[in-house]
């Protein structure tokens, strides 16, 4: 090695220069934005001006979703045109946004005025003071908004079991629904003479299918996805996620029956369904390979889009199939005002504007799942977008999920058990009742134990 030292000194010159040069450029490059970053505030765009009187810019944050596209691309600009106020918008992916908004609210960093949330964040965000009460801010609610969608934003919830600590509080509005995301039945009219009403109707058609056509497709990934597949079944059989005393309501005959019904579709579902999420389920359906599926409203847009759908004009919508009744789960995209918001009055003004009947009519005019009854049941719009009245019906029939900050944990426990039950049923091909009962009981026990441990329920 030491023989090379002379070599090194001559060649080292260039190397040293390179390193120096790189360091120099790096420093120069670094200096400019450092100065810039020191100058501007650390928040993502809400500048200092106008925190009073409703005027002045607001900053909205959200997670990426096809349903948010018209909001992002059309209506924010409209707001500026109509009122002169600017609304900045940032979005990132779901998990990241959940983390960011929660941290922003807990630490009150004030980077945002409005958080677009998923409905099951409401209990946590409201109870932890991440969003503030809209009643206290004086927000006027549009009576045209469908009740069940609106109720998703109250804390404590107007109906259903409550956390012990909030048992006697008066419900206040902590977030306002902006998109009614609710589960519906999507079906291919090529295979159904009339809108299927019951699970038996679906099964009758499924039995006649031969691959590559499937009679049913679902989201099977453990956790939240498979729970969404299961809830319409559970609710329609008369079961509950939790009963009014927080005891699990899915380990009894209704819950087992509902899961067995799902298993009965196994011969007519793709074998990889236990790893399916919305994208695979939807893709299968839009490629024309499935006769029906339950899904949230967000996917409705794509059915007539020739770049993604091969079944343009053939897809129709109905309430999720019933056994005793129809019981779709309701989601909703729902907006809360950050408790550290720089411009709460501006946020209120924006939300009142967006949920006004006029703007919601225009929102539905683009095919979106508006929140007002007048927009969803408008005759002219319904002709153009056949899913709108189905959404309204679904909302009115919907069954809300348990309202507690621990809901994600409960979905995770139930979802893991459901997924394992599905995997076992697919490989075993028999003994469905026993598989369903054992996994559901396990999940019920785990959830009860967890709730006991939290200490806020019993």
């Amino acid at each position: 090695m030491s023989d090379h030292s002379s070599e090194r000194t001559t060649r080292s010159y260039t190397r040293k220069e390179v390193i120096r040069g790189a360091a120099g450029t790096g420093a120069a490059l670094g200096l400019a934005p450092i100065l810039a970053a020191c100058g501007s505030s650390s928040s993502g765009g809400s500048s200092a001006g106008g925190s009073s009187g409703g005027s002045g810019p607001i900053t909205i944050g959200s997670f990426s979703d096809p349903a948010m596209v018209p909001f992002r691309d059309v209506f924010l600009k409209k707001y500026t045109q109509e009122t002169g106020n600017v609304a900045h918008y940032n979005e990132t992916n779901y998990d990241a946004w959940y983390q960011n908004s929660k941290n922003d609210g807990l630490q009150k960093t004030g980077a945002y005025d409005i958080y677009v949330m998923d409905d099951n964040w409401v209990p946590e965000f409201a109870a932890s003071g991440i969003v503030q009460s809209m009643d206290k801010l004086g927000l006027k609610v549009n009576p045209d908004i469908l009740q069940k969608g609106l109720e998703q934003g109250y804390w404590p919830p107007k109906s259903g079991p409550r956390l012990k600590a909030f048992a006697s509080d008066t419900p206040q509005l902590y977030s306002l629904v902006i998109i009614d995301d609710v589960e519906m039945l999507y079906y291919n009219s090529d295979y159904f003479k009339s809108a299927p009403k019951t699970w038996d109707d679906i099964y009758a058609v499924a039995k006649t299918t031969k691959q590559p056509l499937y009679g049913w497709t679902a989201r099977g990934v453990a956790g939240n996805p498979i729970v969404q597949t299961y809830l319409p079944l559970l609710n329609s059989y008369g079961g509950n996620f939790v009963n009014d005393d927080w005891s699990p309501g899915f380990a009894g005959p209704e819950g087992v029956g509902a899961l067995e019904r799902l298993f009965s579709f196994i011969p007519y579902m793709p074998s990889g369904v236990a790893a399916f999420d919305t994208d695979q389920e939807t893709a299968l359906f839009l490629q024309g390979h499935a006769t029906a599926m339950t899904e949230y409203t967000g996917t409705a847009h794509g059915v007539d889009d020739p770049t993604v759908s091969k079944v343009v004009g053939k897809v129709d919508f109905a309430a999720t199939p019933s056994q005793e009744k129809s019981g779709p789960a309701i989601g909703t995209f729902i907006c809360g005002i950050a408790s550290g918001a720089p411009n709460p009055a501006g946020a209120v003004a924006f939300l009142e504007w967006f949920t006004s009947s006029k703007v919601q009519q225009e929102f539905a005019g683009g095919g979106s799942a508006a929140v007002t009854g007048s927009a969803l049941r408008d005759a002219a719009l319904s002709k153009k977008y056949r899913w709108l009245p189905a959404i309204a019906d679904a909302v009115d029939n919907s069954v809300p999920k348990p309202k507690t900050p621990d809901e994600p944990k409960m979905e995770d426990l139930l979802g893991t058990a459901l997924n394992q039950a599905l995997v076992q049923a697919i490989s075993q091909k028999s003994g469905y009742q026993q598989i369903a009962q054992s996994h559901l009981t396990t999940a019920a026990n785990q959830i009860t134990a967890y709730l006991k441990q939290q200490g806020t329920y019993f």
Partner: protein
């Protein structure tokens, strides 16, 4: 002779197969990124039948990828440069002097400890720290964090590189009138350059590819980096495979180019003594 020939052929064949395995996923990703949405689900093909650049334009128009790229390149360059300076300065006394209280050993252990902490452990404390200093969602904040994290790695690597270099060279320079610092700069560093290069390379790769910290400490395209950008395309409801593949390609290209440019130094640097 012919037995040797067969052995050679077998060798190259094996290497070829391995290379194929190494490269095929890249090809598949590029392939998908150039396909149209309907084709992606229509059935697996080895090359796009109706190639389109729509996925890429979506990336840069709708998904802010120009911002992500800019942020990444800037953050990586600055933090690696800073950590190289700080780390080498610290590695030098650790390599040369015998400090009291067994400081040499403990300093190295601490440096290694930093490397060992699982990223998730770091997320919340860093979030609170940056929050207190108003550095959340800023490039400066990320630079600060990455510089500190990389410094430990630099110390660890450079310490052994510097120890390799015989003392007489700097002693000679100091006898000639240089101060220790000048001697370090003029004489020692050039000799340690391959080690510096190897260290820099590993630091660049690790910093550019970091996902969890960037995800947690930033929230908007003003400061988000490319890996975070890639993850924005893995949505909750729908995965847009075309743009996601395109994002993957865009995320990989700068690093691949960088690796190609510096690949000689990888092995060279490691050979010269870091591997102890």
């Amino acid at each position: 002779m012919s037995r040797r020939l067969w052995a050679r052929i077998a060798l190259y064949l094996t290497l070829g197969v391995i290379l194929l395995i190494a490269m095929f996923p890249f090809w598949w990703m590029i392939n998908t990124s150039l396909k149209q949405q309907a084709d992606i689900f229509g059935g697996a093909t080895l090359y796009p039948h109706n190639p389109t650049t729509a996925n890429y334009s979506r990336l840069f128009n709708t998904y802010h990828f120009a911002d992500y790229l800019q942020n990444s390149i800037l953050i990586v360059t600055v933090s690696v440069a800073v950590s190289l300076v700080l780390g080498t300065l610290a590695a030098y006394p650790l390599a040369r002097f015998h400090l009291r209280f067994g400081l040499n050993q403990s300093a190295l252990v601490v440096a290694l400890l930093v490397r060992m902490l699982p990223p998730i452990l770091l997320v919340i404390p860093f979030y609170i720290m940056l929050g207190k200093w108003g550095l959340l969602n800023t490039r400066m904040g990320l630079i600060l964090i990455y510089s500190c994290l990389n410094t430990s790695f630099v110390i660890w690597m450079m310490q052994s590189f510097l120890a390799e270099i015989p003392r007489d060279i700097e002693e000679a320079a100091m006898v000639d009138g240089d101060s220790r610092l000048t001697a370090l700069r003029r004489v020692v560093l050039p000799l340690a350059a391959p080690g510096l290069a190897a260290t820099a390379i590993f630091s660049v790769i690790a910093t550019y590819n970091d996902f969890l910290l960037a995800l947690s400490l930033t929230s908007t395209p003003t400061a988000q980096t490319v890996p975070v950008g890639v993850s924005t395309l893995i949505g909750k409801i729908q995965i847009e495979y075309g743009p996601m593949a395109a994002a993957g390609v865009v995320g990989a290209v700068p690093i691949v180019i960088f690796a190609l440019l510096v690949q000689r130094h990888f092995v060279r640097g490691l050979t010269l003594g870091a591997v102890k």
